[in-house]
C-alpha cells in the first residue's frame, strides 16, 4: 500500500496565505479584501507587499462581497477573506445575487471551517457552508486537505474564470501532498489503490482517511482513498471507476451529512450505480467548544470513525 509522509504539521490557512503572497507577485490583477481578520487569514504578507491592492473593509462582510463583485468590473480578480461562517451564511444573498447570478469572478476564501476552529464554539464553526455554496449555480466549491494543496488551489483558482468558494481551516494538520504540486479543479486525486472499499474524503478528513487505510490494511482490508478536493464540479468518473471495483464507499467530511460531499456522492451513485455508502460527517448538529482533536473525536470525524464506517459498509455489500 502506498504510504504518505507528514512533512510537519501546518495549518491550511497558511497555505492560502502563501498562495496569495505568490499571486501578489505574479498576477497584478489579484486584489484582496478582508473583514477585520487579516492575521487569522494569513493575508498580512500580501497586505505588506501590495498595500494598494489590499482592501480592509472592517466588520462588514456584506459590503465586502458586493465590493468584490464590483471590483471584477475593470478586470480585477478579488479574493475575499474571512471565517467560513461569515463568508457564506452571513452573506448568502450577496453571494447569490451580486456574485453567482451576476457571474462575477470572485474568489471567496474561507478559513476556520468546521469544528476544528475549536474553542470559539458553534457560533463560529460552520458545518453547513459546503451545502450552501454548492447549491449556487455556477459556483465552484473546493475544500483542501493540507498546506501544500491549499497553496496550490489558491494559485489555481486565480486562473479559473468564475466564482469559487475555497474552504480551509485553522488547526495545524499533517502536510503530506507534494510541494508545488499540480492542482486541477474538479479532478480527484487517488491516494491509495484498494479493492475492498472506496474512501472518498475532503479537507481535514483526507489525512484521517489515509491513517484509517493504514490500519485497515493491517487488518487485511484494502481501501482505495480518494482525495476529493473539489466538491463541485464533482469528479463523477473517479468515484464511479472506484466503486465499480470496490462495490462500497465511505464518504468523509468535516461538515453536516445533510448537504455535504456525502450527498453529492450519493447522487452520483444513485444516478449511475447504486452502491452501499456510509457517511462520516456531523449528524445534523451544531458544534461546541473544545480542542480540535476532542471535537473530531466527539463528532466522529477521525480515523477511528472512518474505520468503523468501513466495517459497517463492508457488511452491506
Amino acid at each position: 500500500m502506498k504510504t504518505y509522509t507528514n512533512t510537519g504539521n501546518k495549518d491550511t490557512r497558511s497555505g492560502f496565505g502563501a498562495g496569495l503572497t505568490e499571486l501578489g507577485k505574479t498576477n497584478e490583477n489579484v486584489v484582496a479584501l478582508c473583514a477585520d481578520l487579516t492575521g487569522s487569514l494569513k493575508m498580512d504578507e500580501f497586505k505588506a507587499n501590495h498595500p494598494e491592492r489590499f482592501f480592509q473593509v472592517g466588520i462588514a462582510e456584506a459590503n465586502m462581497i458586493g465590493m468584490a463583485a464590483g471590483m471584477t468590473i475593470g478586470g480585477k480578480i478579488p479574493f475575499t477573506g474571512t471565517f467560513a461562517n461569515f463568508s457564506t451564511g452571513r452573506v448568502y444573498d450577496q453571494i447569490r445575487q451580486s456574485v453567482a447570478y451576476s457571474g462575477k469572478n470572485v474568489k471567496i476564501c474561507a478559513s476556520h471551517a468546521g469544528v476544528t476552529l475549536g474553542e470559539d464554539g458553534a457560533t463560529h464553526q460552520i458545518l453547513e457552508d459546503i451545502g450552501l455554496m454548492k447549491m449556487l449555480p455556477g459556483m465552484t466549491v473546493i475544500n483542501t486537505c493540507d498546506y501544500n494543496q491549499t497553496k496550490a488551489a489558491t494559485l489555481a483558482i486565480a486562473e479559473h474564470d468564475g466564482p469559487v468558494y475555497l474552504r480551509f481551516g485553522r488547526p495545524k494538520v499533517a502536510n503530506f501532498t507534494p510541494e508545488n504540486g499540480e492542482f486541477k479543479i474538479g479532478k480527484a486525486v487517488k491516494l491509495t489503490e484498494g479493492n475492498d472499499v472506496t474512501i472518498v474524503a475532503t479537507g481535514h478528513l483526507v489525512w484521517e482517511a489515509l491513517e484509517a487505510a493504514k490500519d485497515l490494511n493491517e487488518a487485511g482490508i484494502s481501501a482505495e482513498v480518494i482525495n476529493i478536493h473539489t466538491i463541485k464540479p464533482l469528479d463523477d468518473k473517479a468515484i464511479l471507476d472506484s466503486v465499480s471495483k470496490t462495490k462500497c464507499i465511505v464518504t468523509a467530511e468535516e461538515h453536516n451529512y445533510l448537504g455535504g460531499l456525502g450527498e453529492s456522492v450519493a447522487r452520483v451513485l444513485a444516478e449511475n450505480n447504486p452502491t452501499p455508502q456510509e457517511f462520516v460527517a456531523t449528524q445534523d448538529t451544531f458544534g461546541e467548544s473544545g480542542t480540535p482533536a476532542q471535537l473530531m473525536d466527539k463528532y466522529g470525524l477521525n480515523s477511528e470513525a472512518i474505520q468503523k464506517a468501513v466495517k459497517k459498509v463492508l457488511k452491506r455489500k
Binding site: 486584489v31 494598494e52 491592492r53 482592501f55 473593509v57 472592517g58 462588514a60 456584506a62 459590503n63 465586502m64 462581497i65 458586493g66 465590493m67 468584490a68 463583485a69 464590483g70 471590483m71 471584477t72 468590473i73 475593470g74 478586470g75 480585477k76 478579488p78 444573498d93 450577496q94 447569490r96 445575487q97 451580486s98 447570478y101 451576476s102 457571474g103 462575477k104
Partner: protein, 281 residues
C-alpha cells in the same frame, strides 16, 4: 445644456414604454420607473461619458449601477433608446426566454447591465468596488449609482456608506430616489428614514439636493454640482426628490402603483397623457 425639448420628448416616450411594458405582462413596477424617467434620460443622454458598444469591463467610460432593480422598465427603455439593444426587444419584458428579466441581470447577457439587482441594498457596495477598480486602473471616469429611499432601510447600505467615506471614494456619485414611498406605504410610516442629508453628511459624504427631480434642467444643474464636488476626497450623494408615478395623474403621489400594472382602460388614460413622440416600439 443639451436640447431640453428633445429630451422631454424622449422622456414622454419612455413613459409610454414603461406603461406599455408593464400593461402587457400585467406585472412590474411603474411607479418608481415613471418617477425616475427624467433622471435616466439625463444620465444616459448627456451626463455619462459612455461608449456605444457595451463591454462589461467598461474601461475609459463612466459606469452606472441600478441598485433598486425593480424599476427595470425605465432602465430597459432608456438603455434601448440609447442604443444598447433594439427597441423592439422591449416587447419581451418579463416573458419567457427574454433578456429583459423582471429585475435586471447580466445572466441573459443584456447589454448595458453590469450586475444583477432586485434583492435590495446591494448596489452601492458593487458601485464602490467598481470605483476602487477605476482608481487602481487610473481611469478618471465616474461611477454613478441609483438607490431607492426605502432601500436605505437595508443595513448593507450603511456599511457601504461608511466604507466609501472612510476610504475617500470620491469618484462615486450615488443618487437616492427620494419619493417617500415604498410597497407598504409612505416611508415615514413604514420605517422613517430621518434626515438623509444629515445622515450622509455625518458619515462624511458631500450631499447635493435636487428638489425637483422630475425637471430635466434641475437634474442637469444638480448633477453638474455633484460632478464638481467629486474628486475632492469625499463620495457624493445626490438626494433626488421625485414624484412616484410622475406623468400619469392617477399614479402620482401614492405607493399604490409601486408594483401594479394598469388595466386596459387605465393604460389608455396614461398614454393619452403622454402622447407618442419618437414612436412606440
Amino acid at each position: 445644456m443639451p436640447n431640453i425639448k428633445e429630451l422631454k420628448d424622449l422622456t414622454t416616450q419612455v413613459r409610454r414604454d414603461i406603461l406599455r411594458m408593464v400593461h402587457k405582462v400585467n406585472s412590474g413596477h411603474p411607479g418608481g420607473s415613471l418617477g425616475c424617467a427624467e433622471f435616466f434620460v439625463a444620465l444616459y443622454q448627456d451626463i455619462m461619458e459612455r461608449k456605444d458598444d457595451f463591454q462589461m469591463d467598461g474601461h475609459d467610460e463612466d459606469l452606472f449601477f441600478l441598485s433598486n432593480g425593480h424599476i427595470s422598465p425605465v432602465f430597459y427603455s432608456v438603455l434601448a433608446r440609447s442604443g444598447y439593444f433594439p427597441v423592439d426587444e422591449l416587447n419581451t419584458f418579463r416573458l419567457i426566454d427574454s433578456r429583459l428579466q423582471g429585475h435586471p441581470t447580466t445572466h441573459e447577457g443584456l447589454p448595458g447591465i453590469r450586475v444583477a439587482s432586485g434583492s435590495l441594498g446591494q448596489g452601492m457596495s458593487v458601485a464602490i468596488g467598481a470605483a476602487e477598480t477605476k482608481k487602481l486602473n487610473k481611469d478618471k471616469h465616474f461611477i454613478y449609482s441609483l438607490h431607492g429611499d426605502g432601500e436605505l432601510q437595508e443595513g448593507q447600505n450603511w456599511e457601504a456608506i461608511m466604507y466609501a467615506a472612510g476610504n475617500k471614494i470620491d469618484n462615486l456619485i450615488s443618487t437616492i430616489d427620494v419619493n417617500g414611498q415604498q410597497i407598504d406605504g409612505a416611508t415615514h410610516n413604514v420605517l422613517p428614514l430621518g434626515d438623509l442629508r444629515a445622515k450622509f453628511e455625518a458619515f462624511g459624504w458631500a450631499v447635493v439636493e435636487i428638489e425637483n427631480g422630475n425637471d430635466l434642467e434641475a437634474i442637469f444643474n444638480g448633477m453638474a454640482e455633484a460632478k464638481s464636488l467629486a474628486g475632492k476626497g469625499k463620495p457624493v450623494c445626490v438626494l433626488l426628490q421625485t414624484i412616484m408615478g410622475n406623468g400619469v395623474d392617477f399614479m402620482m403621489h401614492t405607493h399604490a402603483w409601486h408594483g401594479k400594472a394598469p388595466n386596459d382602460e387605465q393604460l389608455e388614460v396614461g398614454l393619452s397623457q403622454n402622447p407618442e413622440t419618437l414612436g412606440d416600439y
